[in-house]
């Protein structure tokens, strides 16, 4: 998707900095410094630019010098950071080129020079280190019970011989989970729903937040198995009487309740499907929302530190420049502005907030 070959284009950094309030001590002698660019877009001497600016890698002028002016303005800056070559990007090539089913990785951006320097000093450059020997060696096999991690690639899943039909999984689910999450994953007593059909695109900011769940939000199906085996049922987690087969069966049942599929033809999970790690990995490839994820792109706003007569878009309701326009909390009938008003007026049931957290 993105071309990461470094195209070298000579530019003058000094020219880029013209007109910015920000002064570079070392380069203020007027010499045009010739520098290369990554992908023809980003100053490849970003580390030097940051260093000359006293390490201020998130200063508006520094970012403009490295990424160009567009980067500090709204959505352009956000979108720009999807390119792994952008020194401010958390994105790793794999997460894009690996496609939907790849185990997406993110990284510390290259422009966070400080972090990389300190990591090198604390670890990578310590060639004199000799262990102190205060620990005790342990065999990997001794961790058989403790090591219950299953990663996004499915490493750590039980052998394909372990599993049960989705119908059997459903029976276990009804016994141990339905009282909190609902028989079909619709949620109960304020506990999270596990299957919802809600559109995640927001048409109006004032609408209630869409519910996010396994089918419409989660990027990986393996996460479901890892999580329920690790933490559920809530009161007695990692239950031996459910076992790997039971947890797989329940994972299958929850995925089926979300109408998830396991191939290009859209084949759904049937009640008599023997659900094991192989079927789980098939569904993992077809999670509907997995293409909609990106690595951290913050910060997305790069303001100058304005002291007087600041621009309208930084003042008042919706940036209209009028500080007397604002939103207030709802009030109780006695006029006191208070929290939790719909609940206290018995308009809403308690327990509404959890879906968000």
């Amino acid at each position: 998707m993105y071309n990461t070959n470094k195209t070298i284009v000579a530019v003058s950094v000094a020219a880029l900095l013209t007109g910015s309030a920000f002064a570079m001590s070392e380069n203020s002698n007027g010499n045009a410094e010739v520098s290369a660019k990554i992908d023809g877009k980003y100053a490849s001497n970003y580390a030097e630019i940051i260093k000359n600016a006293d390490g201020k890698y998130l200063d508006k002028a520094v970012i403009e010098a490295i990424l160009g002016e567009e980067a500090t303005h709204g959505r352009n800056g956000m979108v720009g950071k999807l390119d792994p070559a952008n020194p401010y990007s958390f994105e790793v090539d794999d997460s894009i080129d690996g496609g939907n089913h790849g185990n997406a990785q993110c990284k510390i951006p290259k422009a966070f020079v400080e972090v990389h320097e300190s990591a090198a000093k604390n670890y990578f450059d310590d060639d004199r280190f000799v262990a102190r020997g205060f620990g005790t060696p342990i065999a990997e096999t001794a961790l058989e019970k403790w090591n219950i991690s299953v990663d996004g690639d499915g490493k750590g899943l039980p052998d394909p011989s372990v599993g049960m039909t989705i119908e059997e999984g459903g029976q276990i689910y009804v016994q141990f989970c339905a009282m909190c999450h609902g028989e079909f994953g619709e949620g109960a007593k304020g506990y999270l729903a596990l299957a919802v059909e809600e559109d995640l695109v927001t048409s109006s900011f004032t609408d209630p937040a869409p519910m996010k769940s396994v089918g419409n939000y989660w990027p990986y199906a393996v996460t479901l198995f890892d999580y329920i085996r690790r933490t559920m049922p809530f009161w007695t987690p990692n239950a031996p009487y459910i076992g790997d087969a039971g947890y797989l069966g329940m994972a299958g049942y929850i995925l089926q309740s979300n109408y998830l599929v396991m191939d290009d033809e859209g084949t759904e999970l049937e009640d008599d499907t023997f659900f094991n790690s192989e079927v789980l990995m098939k569904v993992n490839k077809y999670m509907p929302n997995q293409g909609n994820w990106f690595c951290d792109h913050r910060p997305v706003i790069h303001n100058a530190r304005c002291m007087t007569n600041c621009p309208d878009d930084q003042v008042g309701w919706d940036g209209t420049g009028d500080p007397t326009q604002y939103r207030q909390a709802r009030k109780l009938p006695d006029g006191t502005p208070q929290y939790n008003v719909p609940q206290r007026l018995h308009e809403d049931k308690p327990g509404v907030g959890h879906a968000g957290m």
Binding site: N309, Y326, H354
Partner: protein
Amino acid sequence: MTDKMEEKVALQTDASRNQGRRAFLKGSAAVAGGVMFTQAAHASSGFDPKKAVAPYAGKAELTEVLQDGAARKSLGFGVRKYPYGMPSPFEKEVQRRTLEWLTPDSMASITMSPIHQLHGIITPNGLHFERFHGGVPTINPDDHRLVIHGLVERPLIFTMDDLKRFPSISRIHFVECPANGALEWKGIQLNSVQWTHGMMSCVEYTGVRLSDLLKEAGIKPEGKWIIPEGADASGMSRSLPVELAMDDCFIAYAQNGEALRREQGYPIRLVVPGCEANMWVKYLRRIMVHDVPLQHREETSKYTELMPDGTAQRFSWYMEANSVITYPSPDFKMQGPGKYYVRGLAWSGRGKVAHVDVSTDGGKNWKEAHFTSVVLDKAWTRFELEWDWDGSEAFLMSRVTDETGYVQPPMPQMRKLEGTNNVYHRTAMVTWRVHAWEDGKSGGLIENVQY
């Protein structure tokens, strides 16, 4: 004593004698000045005592004779009445609090620190905010172990005593739930700083550098991620890239000079300075070095941010620079027009706080506040600004700039780009509306409003 040492001692005593004399002279002048040199002192400094106390002019004088209280007339309690000390009963309202309707269960829930009632930059251990995903276990440290394994040369297991043998470090850092401020995404709901910004605390941790422990086991070159895991019911897990782990992470066994509290991970927790608190795995028992991230529920289903176009942001580790005015705030009432010292907290997940500016007109004009605490890396910093309130309607805001040059944005800018469904990382400014005094008719109301 060698000759050299004697010489040094002689020099030192000479110097200190001189210093003593200077101090004595200064001190005597000050003491005597009150009596003898008043006129002269005033003439030279321009200090006019009458003018200085002028604001008291016209205020009624109390004449009733002050009585002694019980404290003066009877003995107080003796030592060891409380082998572990407790705050005065008069401070009983200073508590961490929760909103019952937030979660259906107290074992997977949150409490907020009363930050409007805290002073300085240290949160007392008993008021540290709480966030649990599977309740609080009571773990015997003698039975607790930490294992480092996976893509390492030599998998190792440590007792708590083993860990304390390693070189130690002590650091003051803030710890903040990324959902701090979450309830404000969809306009405002709550009128208290405890609710708007209380999902954070700042304490001094003591522990062992994570890089020291990982070096001890020797990470293989293909080990790119570390996956810490807790020993509690939630088996909390997250994925951290190796660079982050090697930067300034450590494993803490102490908090504010004593062992960690159970609510904060006793006997050990991970400290990931500047990053979201969910990564600071408590009751830490295992660190798996791995080639890929885990994609745990807490880094996919939760702790990710939904954007207006339906896409979602993941692995948002850093806490952006943030600030809040804790006085005057909606928790207080204005006492009438006059001088106020606007106080608050500023912090940044990317380093030190550089500036805090305060606006009283809703963000149009700003004045730089000064710091009243030490300024530390990834720690709370206290700011203060003198403000003469004329009694008219005012809109108080604070704005932090950190050492990376990042300037805290106003809410409309953040809302425009990120929508209102993110849940986490709402770090834009907040606004306290000070109602016009109108001869006290407003009752001094201070209201949380949103732009």
